[in-house]
Each structure stands twice: as C-alpha cells, then as structure tokens.
Symmetry: C2
Subunit: 125 residues, 2 copies
C-alpha cells in the first residue's frame, strides 16, 4: 500500500540549522579559505536567504570585514566541510564589503542591488 508520507520524500531537501551554518568556512574555487559565514540576511516576506554574510580578518570582531554573498553563489562541499564560492581572493577584494565600523543601510534597496549586480557580472549568471 502506498504511504503518502514516504512517497513524497524525494521532494524534500536536506535541512541545516542556521546556528550550524554560522561559523562554517567559505573557500575560493582553488580551495583557499576566504572566511566564515557570520550570519544571513533573510527576506522577511518569502523566508528566502538572500545573502550569507561572510566575515574574515580582525580579532574578536574588531577590524573584521564583511562580504554579503548571494546564497546561490555558495556550493556546499562535503569534502571540505564548507562552502565554495566561485571567486578568486582578488575578485573578492573588489566585491561589495563593509566593516563593523561602517554598517550598510539594508533598508536602502540600492545597496542590495549593487551586490546582486556585482555577482551577476562576475559570476556570469
């Protein structure tokens, strides 16, 4: 007899707890460690993770630099145990970023469009 629950299993994707992703390493396409996921920016209405905000550098949060990365630009690599973003460290340097001393205004939607346009241009999608 068909089981209505198990029949639907293939539609389900793997889930991960937000507090496990926060702190996970991010690597370049050549497997250099770029930083770690600090937090997400979530679309209030749809519940979609718009950006994973990667941090690197600094000490105890002082002097850290934050890079908002589109979630779609991140691929989880089970062998590395972290996310791979198809960028070189040089491309990352010219990507939109901010410091804890000058946080962006996320209510300014022009800011998020700049991020999206940078990654659309750089990553060719």
């Amino acid at each position: 007899m068909a089981d209505p629950i198990t029949d639907k299993i293939d539609e389900t994707h793997e889930l991960i707890a937000s507090d496990k992703v926060e702190g996970t390493a991010v690597y370049s396409r050549t497997n250099e460690k770029l930083g770690t996921v600090n937090h997400f920016m979530v679309d209030k209405r749809t519940g979609h993770v718009a950006y994973a905000v990667m941090s690197f550098g600094g000490f105890l949060g002082l002097g850290s630099r934050y890079h908002p990365l589109p979630w779609s630009a991140l691929t989880y690599d089970p062998n590395l145990g972290g996310y791979v973003v198809d960028l070189t460290p040089e491309q990352l340097k010219s990507a939109p970023s901010y410091t804890s001393e000058a946080l962006p205004n996320w209510d300014d939607q022009v800011y998020s469009h700049r991020i999206d346009e940078y990654y659309e241009g750089t990553m060719g999608h």
Copy 2:
C-alpha cells in the same frame, strides 16, 4: 534618464539579519506570547528557510520545548514587534515538538513531512 538600479527597487523585499530574528517573540492569533525564535532550519540547496524553530519554557536551555514552525505560517506584526502564528495555545500543544533531551533526526525526511502535514491540516493551506 532611466536608472537601471532604482528602476528595480520595487522588486526587492525587506531583509532582516538572522541574528536579529533569533530571539524575536512569537504570538498566537489572540496576541498571547507563545515563545521566541531560537534558530532556523535552512534548505541547503535552495537557501529557503523551511522552519523557524520556536522555543519556550525552561531555564537556561534546560527543559525547553522546541516547535518547528513553517516560515510561511509566520506573519511579522510591526505593532507587536514579533511574529504572529495563526494557532491557539491549545493547537500548539498538539503540534510536533521536541526537547533538548531528545533532538529530532532532521536527516529523516519523514520527520519534516509530519510537520508540514500538521500545519497544512491545521491552517488549511
């Protein structure tokens, strides 16, 4: 002259940082406080927030009870400064939940289907 950035603003939705949502209050349809958002369960592949896991009760995490709520069941109420879920406290009591002493196995996709089916049945969508 048309600005290709500002022309797209209406398509953008409001973003919120995950570390700001974590800790936000959740209310019933009659404005009773049910608990607070503890963390999210995120679909690794699509970046969609599948569940906001609400916690309540307990002391310093001991004895807390966790309720995974579909993100789509939560509506942000700016006046309350928290999320409203269209459930009574009684409906919540019979909803899928777990304690920190008996965490669910999220790799078991039957578990998440049970949650989805409960809320589809209860909330009529």
